[in-house]
């Protein structure tokens, strides 16, 4: 029996370690742990509630925009203005968030994922006239290949021409993700860490020149998504067909819904959203989403058992490092006591199951291209395909939103910070369902809890010994070469983990399977 330890797992956000026990070439057991503690929820306490949407963005510099949205929605509800946000504010929030998702998904596929499937060193044999590829050939000839070498070796399968195209797209995508962040900054002020999203709406007032400037960056990005991003995902899926069969995970999917299409319904679970709210089963049945079904279990997490089974509204975080059965600082959020995966696959399948014609058309097209069934989307490449499809779905909705904006009219409604209140903000971050819960006392933040996508996906075993989604996705997988465990990193990266988010209260790792070893 061998053990594979990957520390650090790179090309993700944050500090993650994966341990897998391998027997006869197959993963028998897997554990994931975060390796950094900052304690942002503690830092938020006693502060002015309005500062939450600035400080929570600093939980994660990759998906700060989603945190500013979740915080603003939580504050809208705490301040009693959830149904009073001017349409300009609601729509600009959608546009800022949409720009973030486009940038994030392009970054994830090309710059965090692609190096698992494409071979940069093959460009040494390039003989064409692309200046980008020739500059990479020159780089290879100089002989110092960081940050592309070292890497896992032995499973790069693309034919030369497809591989060269993919590398050229890697370079082009660097510019595309930058342009998407510029598009975000047109209304958001800057990125990372936008300064425009506020409780009450958006500080910026839309003007015609900004709308036009946004639109034509968007159109360029839509061209890239249609003609490059989606075809590249399909090209890789057609060569690495075995990755449509592994990495399935838990089979249950949860979406809070995202992109408010209606500003007058205060209840976020009832609000009409572009991505639908819902819990989807492996059989693609859609159930209504009810946030009171969310509770966090801590049997295998280093927290006092007295905090077990709490809903986020009553969330408590009492670290207890010497707890015998624990092996992670991530809690185990469960929905109706069951394990759920969150992310693009959940969003796409919730909208697919709810009967959204646009999403059904997109998904069915990809399935026919890949000669696959909807259930094969529960896989490594299924997640990448869902991510690419939803990028198109959101980007295609955005021109209509731009035309809804009323130039020169307010995007913000003034409010006052209440002495005592509570609020809940539910939104979809690029990597999945994100919830913020705030409690205000004496006009200050008394308690702030975030339940973030990677807490769901990277959670440890729960009270009834059900492993978390990533653990389930790795378990049972055959590893072809234990010194180059491509399978593990490809599965983990398909979830697009974000450790800075998952680990608000995480500490040292340095623990072995079955024993706690804190340094």
């Amino acid at each position: 029996m061998g053990r594979i330890i990957i520390d650090p797992v790179t090309r993700i956000e944050g500090h993650l370690k994966i341990e897998a026990v391998v027997e006869d070439g197959e993963v028998k057991e897997a554990r994931s742990s975060g390796t950094l503690f900052r304690g942002i929820e503690l830092i938020l306490r006693n502060r002015d509630p309005r500062d939450a949407q600035r400080i929570t963005q600093r939980i994660c510099g990759v998906c700060p925009t989603s945190h500013s949205m979740a915080a603003a929605l939580a504050l809208d509800s705490a301040f009693g203005i959830a149904d009073k946000i001017p349409d300009n504010g609601r729509v600009m929030r959608n546009l800022i968030l949409g720009a973030a998702h486009i940038a994030d998904h392009i970054l994830h596929f090309y710059h965090l994922t692609a190096l698992d499937y494409v071979d940069v060193t093959q460009i040494a044999r390039y003989e064409g006239s692309s200046s980008a590829l020739n500059s990479i050939r020159k780089f290879i000839e100089r002989g110092e290949l960081g940050p592309f070498i070292p890497r896992y070796e032995g499973d790069y399968r693309l034919p030369d021409r497809a591989n060269q195209e993919a590398i050229a797209h890697y370079v082009e995508a660097l510019n595309m993700r930058r342009k998407a962040q510029e598009m975000l900054a047109i209304f958001g002020g800057k990125m990372p860490h936008n300064c425009a999203i506020m409780p009450g709406g958006v500080t910026e007032i839309p003007t015609v020149d900004k709308i036009t400037s946004f639109l034509w960056r968007l159109n360029e990005l839509r061209g890239f998504i249609d003609n490059t991003y989606i075809p590249d995902v399909l090209a890789i899926a057609k060569v690495y067909t075995d990755y449509l069969e592994i990495g399935g995970g838990c089979g249950n999917l949860l979406s809070y819904g995202s992109y408010d299409l209606d500003g007058r319904e205060a209840d976020l679970t009832k609000r009409e959203r572009l991505f639908k709210q819902g819990a989807v089963s492996a059989e693609l049945n859609l159930d209504e989403f009810n946030p009171s079904n969310i509770a966090e279990q801590v049997k295998h997490s280093w927290y006092a058992d007295s905090s077990n089974g709490r809903r986020p509204t009553e969330g408590e975080t009492i670290p207890q490092a010497e707890k015998a059965e624990a092996y992670s600082w991530i809690k185990s959020p469960r929905y109706g006591a069951k394990v759920y995966e969150v992310g693009p696959l959940a969003r796409v399948m919730a909208s697919y199951a709810s009967g959204s014609p646009k999403v059904q058309e997109l998904v069915d097209h990809v399935l026919s291209e890949l000669k696959a069934t909807p259930t094969s989307l529960f896989s490594v490449l299924g997640r990448h395909a869902a991510r690419a499809l939803e990028t198109k779905f959101v980007a295609d909705a955005m021109p209509g939103w731009l035309l809804e904006l009323k130039p020169g009219e307010p995007a913000y409604i003034k409010s006052t910070v209440p002495e005592e209140a509570t609020g809940m903000g539910l939104v979809e971050a690029a990597r999945g369902a994100l919830g913020h819960w705030i409690e205000i006392k004496q006009g200050r933040i008394a308690n702030y809890q975030c339940v973030v996508p990677t807490t769901w996906n990277a959670s440890p075993r729960d009270d009834s010994e059900q492993p978390g989604p990533i653990e389930q996705a790795i378990t049972g997988v055959k590893i072809r070469d234990e010194t180059n465990p491509f399978e593990i990193v490809r599965i983990v990266r398909s979830f697009d983990p974000c450790l800075a988010c998952a680990v608000h209260l995480v500490t040292s790792k340095g623990r072995k399977l079955g024993e706690v070893d804190i340094l």
Binding site: I6, D48, R54, L174, R178, I186
Partner: protein, 310 residues
């Protein structure tokens, strides 16, 4: 040509960070991030990025070995970039990067050993430069800046602070280019907080396009109104950075461009001494027309509002 290119090895460590500094540097326009990493960003000179966990191809032991090999074999010739503050609680147990002989290695220990043998260290972002968000009250992991760590461990390696939450990509790329072209900065090139004066010599307030409103006494009372943002909490009068001139994300906008107050993210006191972000600065002698804004504003942290939330 090929043989004459000088390689500059760089190790980029991510400590207690949100990765926002890395994401911001990816937004560099000209040179693009591809120009910085692949091409000779300065003719005849190439940045050889040997360790950067967000983008590097490898994972696990192999990348830790690459980092340690660079440390051992390139002593005195590699540049260390630190992103994020350094957790010191429990002897550094709150944050680690990789393992050695089956034991985790703390971020603290990495910064100490790699910092000591680097030719220069760049503390990138406000967390690395001053502690920042990671060190905000109550500082649960007892985070410290790179400068404080260097002082504690008697490390004399030249240090450049490039603050900002996040830092502007030009501040980082421009500093790197100046090191490649002219060598390490002279003391006169840095301010008292070791920030390059090329980017951090002037207050936001000095170059603010809303400055005329301030001089005329026209103040916005709510978001979206014309007027100086002073009463909505703007920290521009106490914040050194060239954002109003440089603007962000390819120049499309910046914080005050989005009608949102500056929150002082390049300052050593960020965030505690500069928050609440939406509360008016108090106890600050603001300049009037014709007066140098510096006259009333320099001289230590007492110019920040005293209403620290804690």
């Amino acid at each position: 040509m090929g043989g004459s290119v000088i390689e500059y090895p760089v190790i980029w460590l991510q400590c207690a960070t949100c990765t926002g500094c890395s994401v911001s540097v990816l937004n560099s326009v000209s040179p693009s991030i591809k120009n910085v990493l692949i091409d000779e960003v300065i003719p005849g000179k190439h940045i050889n990025l040997r360790f950067q966990a967000t983008i590097m191809a490898g994972a696990g032991d192999m990348v830790i070995e690459e980092m340690e090999e660079t440390w051992q074999n390139k002593k005195g010739s590699y540049v260390l970039v630190v992103e994020g503050a350094i957790p010191t609680a429990g002897d550094g147990a709150y944050g680690s990067i990789g393992e050695k002989d089956g034991k985790i290695v703390s971020m603290l220990s990495r910064v100490e050993s790699l910092g000591r043998d680097a030719s220069a260290t760049i503390a990138l972002g406000t967390c690395a430069a001053f502690g920042g968000i990671a060190a905000a009250t109550p500082n649960p992991s007892q985070c410290l800046s790179v400068g404080r760590i260097f002082k504690l461990y008697n490390i004399a390696t030249p240090l450049i602070n490039i603050p900002g939450c996040p830092p502007h990509p030009d501040w980082f790329v421009g500093t790197l280019a100046s090191v490649l072209l002219q060598g390490l900065p002279e003391p006169r090139d840095l301010d008292e907080h070791k920030r390059p004066k090329a980017f951090f010599a002037q207050l936001i307030h000095e170059n603010c396009p809303r400055r005329a409103y301030f001089d005329e006494g026209k103040f916005a009372k709510r978001f979206g109104e014309p007027g100086c943002l002073n009463e909505l909490g703007c920290k521009g009068p106490v914040t050194y950075a060239d954002c109003p001139l440089r603007r962000w994300n390819g120049g499309v906008s910046w914080c005050i461009g989005a009608a949102s107050p500056c929150i002082g993210c390049t300052e050593p006191g960020f965030p505690d001494l500069l928050s609440p972000f939406y509360q008016k600065l108090t106890e600050v002698a603001l300049p009037s027309i014709g007066q140098s804004p510096r006259g009333g504003l320099t001289g230590g942290k007492n110019y920040y509002r005293s209403g620290n939330p804690h």
